[in-house]
């Protein structure tokens, strides 16, 4: 429970008295002023997202949203985060209500499948229940592939805050409740397809922070996402990260680092 106190003369004293009474009755941890909250610890993910957050990584104990429509790379980045998390945490979970998660797509990022658990809840409510329970239990990283119902957002947030779990949600366009619950929201927009020798090999993507409760905004990043052409084997350029081209004059003005993730 967070409390914001505004200086309104006698009302502030009344509020302070109420806060003190609640703390005496239920313990000092029943209420915490926002100013007393410690800043969230960052989790350095090793992806270009670390530069966009302003704190050098994704926030622990908070919800981060990756949004955008069409082929924009948000799921690619999310799977890269998930693969990294499987290497660093004892437990990483995917809550896949829509049954669209493909472990094969993670292989280019060299995940540790032993740490990964996939939950396919039968309903959105069950997805919320799973997210809340896993956050509370201390799962290191939770990937939400879709929205969860509003009543489950607060328990999930509280559980994540208590356990310092990293929670990442991937949605096309978040609902109002989910958007409000997030501490960090990164929007991805498709900037054009990448062709090589007449073949479509990837997509240019712009990533920008549309919401950041952790730090001042630090600009935008351009990404190049490469997809395998053909069907079967993981691409030979799996896991490649390279500097990309300057895409435009505007990009030259921004502190832009073009990186590529071959997927």
């Amino acid at each position: 429970m967070q409390v914001h106190a505004r200086p309104l003369g006698g009302k502030t004293e009344t509020l302070d008295h109420a806060i003190e009474a609640i703390r005496v009755r239920f313990g000092s941890q029943a209420l915490t002023r926002v100013a007393e909250l410690p800043p969230p610890l960052p989790w350095p993910s090793g992806t270009p997202l670390d530069r966009l957050t302003g704190i050098g990584g994704l926030p622990r104990g908070r919800l981060t949203l990756l949004t955008g429509t069409g082929t924009c790379g948000k799921l690619t980045l999310a799977l890269a985060l998930l693969a990294q998390a499987t290497q660093e945490f004892a437990h990483a979970a995917v809550i896949d209500h829509a049954r669209q998660f493909d472990p094969w797509a993670m292989l280019p990022f060299d995940p540790d499948l032993g740490s990964l658990t996939v939950i396919t809840p039968p309903s959105a409510e069950a997805a919320g229940e799973a997210a809340s329970a896993l956050a509370r239990a201390g799962t290191g990283f939770i990937l939400l592939m879709g929205e969860i119902p509003e009543p489950w957002l607060a328990p999930m947030e509280a559980g994540a805050a208590r356990s310092s779990a990293v929670v990442v949600g991937v949605v096309d366009a978040p609902g109002r409740a989910l958007a409000h619950a997030s501490s960090l929201s990164i929007g991805f927009t498709q900037a054009g397809w990448i062709y090589e020798r007449g073949q479509l090999v990837g997509v240019n993507v712009g990533a920008h922070c549309s919401k950041n409760k952790l730090a001042p905004p630090v600009g935008e990043s351009d990404l190049e996402i490469f997809y395998a052409i053909g069907s079967i084997a993981p691409p030979h350029r799996s896991g490649e990260v390279r500097k990309g081209r300057q895409l435009s004059a505007l990009a030259q003005q921004l502190d832009v680092e073009c990186v590529s993730a071959a997927v």
Binding site: T69, G70, T71, C72, G73, K74, L75, T76, L79, A98, R99, Q100, F101, D102, W104, A105, M106, P108, M145, V170, Q190, W193, Q199, L200, V203, Y227, I229, G230, S231, V263
Partner: protein, 82 residues
């Protein structure tokens, strides 16, 4: 990277004169630009699976894979790139 539709989502496909997919309706709707194609034939020893795969761009912004089940002549979207 990609979402895998499991089971694949059925769609109705309108073909160009040359037999390439031009427009789809169903779970996803819109014009498609074919990128590449390949064919899969497997499990011939049991119940053969023969599929004609297409990688297409839907509505100019969504890269996805769809396939035609040759035996049943039905189209499905199987994978969406993101």
């Amino acid at each position: 990277m990609t979402r895998l539709m499991n089971p694949p989502s059925p769609v109705a496909v309108t073909l160009n004169a040359d037999g390439t997919p031009a427009y789809i309706t169903g779970a996803w709707t819109g014009p498609v630009d074919p990128i590449t194609r390949w064919k899969v034939e497997t499990e011939w020893w049991a119940q053969a699976i023969v599929r004609e795969y297409w990688k297409v761009v839907l509505n100019s912004d969504l890269l996805c894979e769809l396939f035609r089940d040759v035996a049943r002549d039905e189209w499905f979207i199987e994978r969406v790139y993101d």
